[in-house]
């Protein structure tokens, strides 16, 4: 920065910072700082990012924020960053991004405008946008102040200190009807009836023993082949015993055949089974 070419506004402002505690300060003159005016004490922690600092710098221009010189602001910011780097302070990326953008904006503001290619906004427009952002931030800060200094409930104005709460008397009405009661009883009765369990009624069966006795009686008189099923069923009085009679008869027939007292014959699967007494074949 060429501090001799034009007056350094930052230097001026910092020297007139009202409380002397501004975040950007000149060091105490200790004799060695003669040509070193731009050297600043830096206190980054006091700022909430680049915009905050730009706003701080802008306010030091002591003009209405709509009138600030963005060019001067850019130069001050860049000087600040330059200084920070010389002191090897670590700067967060957004500070550097802002610095790069401001450097570019500064050059655009100083150089004659390039032909309008419609892609880039004119430098003045961009400067105006930065000014707008600063104004808007300032406006929000003022608004916060206005809001907080207004009459606030519980601090400045008070509601009734001992409110008398509305007592809500609940009256419960039971909506259960006779039908509900009966339905409840009926469902209980049904459940209770179910809980009695299922008793298996004895199935009428023809036991194997019965079948065997019958077959033994039959084959005594059987010299020719006779159909097992039709012979058995002749002796059946209860029709519901039919299935069990066939099953038991078949089992008994197999047993009798194994013992050698009868002979069985079947021509093919699912064909009728024929039987005759063993004696008949001998």
């Amino acid at each position: 920065m060429n501090s001799k070419a034009h007056k350094d506004p930052l230097k001026e402002r910092t020297q007139t910072w009202p409380d002397g505690q501004g975040p950007v300060r000149l060091p105490a003159r200790d004799g060695q700082g003669q040509g070193d005016d731009a050297r600043l004490m830096l206190d980054l922690g006091a700022f909430e990012g680049p915009l905050d600092m730009l706003l701080d710098l802008a306010r030091r221009q002591k003009v209405d924020l709509t009138q600030i010189s963005i060019l001067a602001l850019a130069e001050q910011y860049l000087a600040f960053i330059h200084q920070a780097r010389r002191m090897r302070l670590e700067l967060a990326a957004d500070w550097l991004v802002m610095a790069a953008w401001l450097a570019w904006l500064k050059s655009r503001l100083l150089l004659p405008a390039p032909p309008d290619d419609g892609e880039e906004l004119p430098a003045e427009e961009m400067a105006a946008r930065l000014a707008f952002r600063l104004q808007r931030l300032q406006a929000m800060r003022d608004a916060a102040d206005a809001l907080m200094s207004g009459p606030r409930l519980g601090r400045d104005v008070f509601a009734r200190g001992s409110p008398e709460p509305t007592v809500v008397e609940k009256q419960t009405e039971y909506a259960d009807t006779m039908v509900d009661l009966l339905r409840a009883y009926a469902s209980f009765v049904r459940r209770k009836a179910d809980a009695r369990g299922y008793e298996v009624a004895p199935q009428p069966v023809w036991t194997i023993k019965e079948a065997r006795e019958t077959l033994q009686r039959l084959i005594g008189r059987l010299d020719e082949w006779g159909r097992l099923d039709s012979l058995l069923l002749q002796y059946l009085t209860e029709p519901q015993k039919r299935v069990s009679a066939l099953a038991s008869g078949f089992a008994a027939a197999l047993e009798l055949a194994r013992e050698g007292s009868m002979e069985l014959r079947q021509e093919d699967h699912f064909r009728p089974i024929y039987m005759r007494s063993q004696a008949a074949c001998q």
Partner: protein
């Protein structure tokens, strides 16, 4: 009055956020306003001394309080003296405004309803009998709820070991369910007719006829006072 009017105008002008208007501290309107605000914002009744502290030295706090009291007399809120201190309170005749009656429709839980039905049909019935009939044990709350509603009552004691309390229904029960007497509780055939029970019930299934009034032969009366005490006992913690 003119004087008051001026005072009023003054603080009407000083809108939000500005410093209070300078006014003679012993302006009675101002003092009344101070007392009013203090009494309104206080969470506890304030003593005359509490008020006096906020008033200019030598001010007559009693007179100021009387001023406030008079102002609120006959309005919806009154300044009243409680335990020697001062408090704003809703006017007595308007206290009804602060009471809301909310009618809440509720239905009994399935278990409670079933228990009620069993008590209705099987009364007089002991707790153990209810449990035996239902086949499950019952939480204390179930009978409590029914007693609280007023639909069941303790009738007496069963003449059996331990002399357990017998339960039955109340007149309120009959009224609520629109029964003229317990004899009007529908029987088995009526339940079947209403489609509530199907035909698959075992042929020997019976629905008991409840006993209405008076004690049965195997019941004896509750002891004097017991009727009062017994519900308490029911709230004892379960083991």
């Amino acid at each position: 009055m003119t004087h008051n009017a001026v005072a009023e105008t003054e603080h009407d002008e000083d809108g939000a956020g500005t410093a209070p208007v300078l006014r003679p501290h012993d302006d009675p309107v101002h003092m009344r306003r101070v007392a009013e605000a203090l009494l309104f914002a206080a969470s506890q009744p304030l003593s005359q001394e509490d008020i006096a502290r906020a008033l200019p030295e030598g001010a007559d706090a009693a007179a100021v309080l009387e001023d406030v009291r008079a102002k609120y007399e006959g309005s919806g809120v009154n300044l009243v003296q409680v335990a020697g201190k001062w408090q704003m309170r809703t006017a007595d005749d308007l206290r009804y405004l602060l009471r809301h009656e909310v009618k809440e429709q509720r239905k009994l839980s399935r278990v409670t309803l079933e228990t009620l039905a069993i008590i209705a049909y099987h009364q007089p019935v002991t707790r153990a009998e209810i449990e035996a009939i239902r086949g499950v044990s019952m939480s204390k709350g179930t009978l409590d709820t029914l007693m609280e509603i007023g639909w069941i009552r303790m009738r007496g004691r069963r003449r059996s070991p331990g002399r357990p309390v017998t339960y039955g229904t109340t007149e309120e029960f009959l009224v609520h369910f629109g029964l003229n007497s317990l004899k009007d509780l529908p029987g088995l055939s009526e339940l079947k007719g209403a489609g509530l029970l199907d035909a698959s019930l075992p042929p020997d299934f019976e629905i008991p006829t409840p006993e209405q009034e008076g004690l049965t032969d195997d019941e004896e009366p509750l002891e004097q006072m017991e009727e009062e005490e017994a519900p308490l006992e029911m709230h004892l913690p379960e083991k």
